[in-house]
């Protein structure tokens, strides 16, 4: 067992630890939300991740996404797999470089129990959440994360027992309101925390 997992097992205890390592998590998108949420989940002991994104890293992503300057031009999921394995070398990762759409969501994520929506476009967010509802999966999504300031507005909206939306629900990415690292990272961390809570139960 590698040092990260050894420490987590000692900190959390055997049962919670094995729930974390056994959870099958699907992450749709490896941009600001997905790359950072994956980082938090891996640091927390999650071992079994499916991550899907068709995009390559651009210089403009480095202001908020979990990538480095020497990775520009590479597929996000490939670079992310490398970065995550530097945290936990024994990860079980399934990565796909497909564009997510109505026709492939089920095929890509049916094996995952917990879904994390980290997509850019509102239309695809909707499709992903509706697919999760149809398949009876738990899904955490994000909406309204752009800009800076008023970060307490990035709230957890518990829609029902299987659907949570994180964000202020209104701050859309725009010319004058770009996505910036602090708010995007907060939303990503909250999404990851919702997943942890599903796996471990509500903390104290």
């Amino acid at each position: 067992m590698n040092p990260l997992l050894e420490c987590l097992k000692n900190t959390l205890g055997e049962k919670p630890f094995s729930r974390l390592t056994g959870a099958k998590i699907g992450i749709a998108g490896a941009g600001g939300l997905g790359s950072n949420a994956a980082m938090h989940l891996v640091r927390s002991g999650c071992q079994d991740l499916t991550i899907v994104d068709f995009d390559r890293i651009e210089a403009s992503n480095l202001n908020r996404q979990f990538y480095f300057a020497d990775q520009v031009g590479r597929f996000k999921v490939v670079a992310l797999a490398e970065n995550l394995k530097r945290i936990n070398p024994d990860l079980h990762l399934r990565i796909e470089t497909e564009e997510i759409g109505k026709e492939n969501i089920e095929y890509l994520f049916a094996d995952c129990d917990l879904w994390l929506e980290a997509l850019d476009r509102a239309e695809v967010k909707k499709l992903f959440v509706e697919a999760a509802v149809t398949l009876g999966k738990k899904v955490v999504s994000a909406s309204g994360i752009a800009g800076w300031g008023n970060s307490d507005a990035l709230r957890i909206h518990q829609i029902n027992s299987k659907l949570v939306i994180v964000g202020d629900l209104t701050s859309e990415v725009a010319q004058h309101r770009p996505p910036m690292s602090p708010r995007v990272s907060i939303a990503a961390a909250k999404e990851a925390d919702v997943v942890l809570t599903w796996i471990l139960g509500q903390g104290d």
Binding site: E123, G144, I145, N160, I165, L169, E172
Partner: protein
């Protein structure tokens, strides 16, 4: 008949499907999910839901950014 939309009372003239109501209200259907009496109804099922007295709708609109 009266229904509740995002916590506010609204009046409907006739029985109408959720699909038709969304169209009439010019709701941007490609970016919203709809909770109908506590249950999220995927868009492909909107046509099968007939709105009736006392129904509660929550319209949740997604905005871009990830």
């Amino acid at each position: 008949m009266n229904i509740m939309i995002n916590g506010e009372k609204a009046e409907l003239r006739d029985t109408i499907s959720l699909q038709r109501w969304v169209e009439e209200q010019n709701i941007p259907h490609t970016t919203v999910i709809i909770e109908y009496n506590g249950e999220i109804i995927p868009e492909e099922r909107w046509g099968y839901v007939e709105l009736k007295q006392g129904d509660q709708l929550e319209i949740l609109k997604f905005v871009g950014g990830g």
